[in-house]
């Protein structure tokens, strides 16, 4: 059985690890998501115009 201080130390460490990992991942993959989203919206807008 771990004490309260140790438990919350692990939770805090997990939060910092989650934030660091997700920030790097989101920086790369989220940027690509934006690029693809804008490309698709541009194509859809063009398609609507053609119709």
């Amino acid at each position: 059985m771990i004490d309260g201080s140790t438990f919350w130390w692990y939770v805090t460490a997990a939060c910092l690890a989650w934030f660091s990992t997700v920030t790097i991942y989101v920086a790369i993959r989220g940027g690509l998501d934006i690029k693809h989203m804008l490309r698709r919206l541009k194509a859809l807008k063009q398609q609507n115009r053609d119709e």
Partner: protein
């Protein structure tokens, strides 16, 4: 005295310029109302994670989480654990959110019309807008107070600071809608994360973990670590937090907007699953700042919500860290404000104005109305944010105002998706009781004569009563009305 320098100011100016540029540059991609409100439903997983996290974390959230840490120790973060468990469960199972996304609606009341009729759609919209705008009403003031304390700005400039920030957010939200919100959320999530990580690591380097733990131990004993034995938290609080968080993950329009903007239900569920742990982070990390304030300033800061910003202002950070911190908090607040303005506006346009659209409106007309509504919401926020005096803990205010709609809307959503017997009588009863109980509590708490009685009942008991009342009203009302409806799931 704050150690705010011109380097800090430059960091904030660069962030501000980047956010405005990003927000305004996507205007050309907006062609239809659907593009404006749900980004053409083209959002993918990682942009969704950034957007959902950035939206659900503002200065008000940061200050309320820090206040909980300052007042209750580590145990104050239990609300974040409840949020994490609720979002993880919903993301993994697709409970309610799968049928909601697959129905192709833009707002929750639109779904209710399919099950309960147009009147229930309209009244659901009223409750959602009322609860949402009251909830958002304190964002500006708390955000302004944070900036005034941390940047050491003269208090007379509080209103001007708030107005400038709101106008900036309003401009790019009005121009680009959800598309601007998503793109700026991405940038704001990155700035916010870096700022929070740097400040937390530096705080833990300045104040050793043993000092934080012993501070909590000496002020709150075992209750500072274990929420179940904390006299100010306990089972009632935790049950209420579980209910509120589960309901918020299912029906809080700003959260659901990410699900409805996703490419499909599967993508929406992935966004939920991968963002879920953020809810622990958004309580634990500012909670650490609140405990650090308790360790350095002592327990006497009034109001308690000012303890954390005072600690941040009085700490001698390395050059540029204050600027990074303020940019991070501005990012957090701007992303929240923009998303909230857009989503409450979307309910006003899509649901409250539905009876007035006898014929199909043209896309330019729809866009013009949406933009006007967002501008009016901004004006309301400015006025409400300036005069409403906060009577209680920030988090308590947020959960009680949220419950005005969370109790009834979550009951309606679960019933609409999974209970074929549910009908408009049950829905009307759930809306009435679910909204009336928390609203009455807020009113009684504000009136001096009844304030004592309201405090004896407690916000948590009033909140639980709203959920129980809404559920019972749904069941009783549905059984009282002859005939039954068809399920959508």
């Amino acid at each position: 005295m704050s150690n705010f320098t011109w380097i800090d100011g430059s960091i904030i100016a660069v962030y501000f310029a980047l956010a405005m540029f990003a927000g305004l540059s996507v205007r050309k991609y907006i062609g239809k109302v659907e593009d404006f409100l749900v980004a053409g439903r083209e959002m993918d997983v990682y942009l969704g994670v950034a957007s959902l996290a950035a939206t659900e974390f503002g200065i008000v959230t940061c200050m309320s989480s820090a206040e909980l840490g300052y007042k209750h120790g580590f145990a104050g973060a239990v609300a974040g654990v409840c949020g994490f468990l609720a979002m993880l469960f919903i993301g993994l199972t697709g409970f309610c959110v799968r049928p909601l996304r697959e129905s192709g609606v833009m707002t929750i009341p639109e779904l209710f019309e399919k099950r309960f009729g147009s009147k229930i759609r309209w009244w659901s919209g009223v409750v959602i807008v009322l609860g949402g705008l009251l909830n958002m009403g304190v964002f500006l003031r708390t955000g302004g107070e944070f900036l005034v304390i941390v940047c050491d700005i003269d208090k007379q400039y509080l209103e001007i600071t708030m107005t400038v920030m709101l106008v900036a957010v309003g401009v790019y939200t009005i121009v680009g809608g959800m598309l601007s919100v998503l793109v700026t959320d991405y940038l704001q999530f990155l700035v916010m994360s870096v700022g929070m990580l740097v400040v937390t690591v530096l705080t833990l380097m300045n104040i050793p973990w043993e000092t934080l733990a012993s501070t909590v131990e000496s002020n709150y004993g075992a209750g500072g670590f274990n929420p179940f034995v904390n006299p100010n938290i306990g089972w009632t609080y935790i049950i209420f937090q579980m209910l509120v968080n589960a309901a918020a993950m299912l029906t809080w329009q700003t959260t659901i907007a990410r699900l409805l903007s996703a490419k499909d239900a599967k993508t929406g569920q992935k966004v939920y699953t991968r963002t879920s742990f953020f809810f622990v982070c958004q309580f634990v990390i500012p909670g650490i700042w609140g405990i650090a304030a308790l360790a350095t300033l002592g327990p006497g800061i009034v109001p308690t919500s000012h303890a954390m910003p005072t600690f941040l202002a009085q700490t001698a950070w390395p050059l540029g860290v204050t600027g990074l911190l303020v940019a991070a908090m501005l990012a957090a607040d701007m992303s929240t404000d923009s998303s909230y303005m857009l989503t409450w506006g979307s309910v006003i346009y899509n649901d409250l104005m539905a009876p007035f659209r006898k014929t199909r409106w043209s896309e330019p007309r729809g866009l013009a109305w949406n933009r006007t509504i967002i501008a009016l919401i901004g004006l309301f926020l400015l006025v409400y944010g300036l005069w409403y005096p906060l009577q209680q803990e920030i988090w308590t205010y947020l959960t009680v105002t949220g419950t005005i709609y969370l109790a009834s809307m979550s009951t309606l959503l679960v019933a609409a998706c999974y209970w074929p017997r549910a009908n408009s009588w049950g829905a009307a009863g759930a809306i009435t009781l679910g909204a009336l109980i928390p609203f009455a509590y807020l009113v009684f708490e504000a009136i001096p004569v009844t304030r004592e009685a309201a405090l004896n009942i407690g916000a948590e008991r009033a909140g639980i009563a709203a959920f129980v009342g809404a559920g019972l009203a749904m069941v009783l009302g549905s059984y009282l009305k002859p005939g039954s409806s068809v399920r959508i799931a």
